[in-house]
Symmetry: C2
Subunit: 205 residues, 2 copies
DNA sequence: GGCGAAACCCCCCGAATGGGGGGCGGCGAT
DNA sequence: ATCGCCGCCCCCCATTCGGGGGGTTTCGCC
């Protein structure tokens, strides 16, 4: 699989994003690459999994914000349907936690902000077996822990601390610990601001 | 004007969106239309205004969420620089208020969710002088009053009711009236949820 | 082994929130 | 001219928030 002389047979790419315009964009970009054999699109997770199972793509570009499901789940499901497929998460705002992406089985992430050259390079690199976790120059990592991201996700739902506690089997007091840590790390003072940040971080659907 | 041979002189189109992938997408879509002469892109407002001034495009597609500025301001500035240009606002989530868009001088809006055919049709229609304020099937208008939208915008900032009151020269009690009305109309229960809705409505930067 | 970071639990407090009630003037439509 | 909507103001109340202490265990790292 690690063909060194990188004349690749022709990569198959799958773009998973609920905005069709994103399909068009990546298709325009990738179809003109000699090493891309075909570039398909899917707008929802079910469709993406089916297509991945049939097509067995080399690379899948998956939007972090797919309707209800998190990009991480989508990533895992796609890799279950097509293990050969390496997943690049697409983040809208530029910043995702590498650890989360890795845990989900992704090979890296790219941002919609990146230039064409960076995106093309990233796709080729993961196809060749590398990981892409830094690229385009966007800052990442605010330093939120796994638990804190989880809590922030629920805060962005409008859930109260008590509801979050129930959902995560915690004491409300503990939830407050987490929210306080989140506010401190994000530099905000209340949940409304935190929600704004959360969507900037790509943590909210 | 729907005849097969409606050979227009060649429209010039400008796409204003801070995600390059959106440029690629629309360019792929529009460049292949016989009636499109050229399709340029701009990533920020200054650049958009300059390009509009030079190019005098027939149609500009403007993202509602451009960094700091609201799409409405962007729309107004572009039309100031190039009065002949008809603006189509691009909404990410599908719902914008027609009244706001009209007030800003836009000729309609489209959503990133729309299919290729609908987008092409919308661009051609505004180029021909029509307005496009309903298209793709998205619902609009939640029924928020002007004041409520203003308050919601500040809520999405993370401001407390007291701060909002100070900013708008109101009593804190009145602000609560507005927030309560907002929650009722949006079908949410607290500010965190309201912030999420607000960004879906394109009211938050 | 020691140390910190994360995650979990408890107490306290003041302030903000969200919902209930009431009433006021203005404005446009019926 | 009466109705409904908007915008504004006041009272009350229980709940929630956010921050301040305190503590435990379980990790991984040096």
């Amino acid at each position: 699989m690690a063909g060194a002389g990188d004349k690749q047979a022709g990569l198959r790419v799958l773009v998973v994003d609920d905005h069709e315009v994103v399909h068009w964009g990546f298709r325009l970009l990738l179809d003109r690459q000699s090493w891309v054999e075909r570039c398909d699109g899917a707008t929802e997770l079910d469709e993406a999994v089916r297509t991945a199972a049939n097509l067995q793509p080399d690379v899948a570009l998956v939007d972090l914000m797919l309707g209800a499901e998190s990009g991480a789940e989508a990533c895992a499901e796609i890799r279950a349907a097509s293990p050969r497929t390496r997943v690049l998460l697409i983040s809208g705002a530029g910043r995702v936690s590498p650890s989360v992406a890795r845990a989900a089985g992704a090979s890296g992430f790219i941002s919609k902000d990146w230039g064409a050259a960076d995106v093309v390079k990233a796709v080729r690199m993961v196809a060749l077996g590398s990981e892409v976790f830094s690229g385009g120059g966007a800052g990442d990592e605010v330093g939120l822990s796994e638990r804190e991201r989880e809590v922030l996700g629920l805060v962005a739902t409008g859930a109260t601390n008590k509801e979050i506690a129930a959902a995560l089997y915690l004491s409300p007091h503990t939830v407050k610990e987490h929210t306080s840590a989140i506010y401190r790390k994000l530099g905000v003072r209340n949940r409304a601001e935190a929600v704004k940040s959360a969507q900037g971080l790509g943590l909210v659907a």
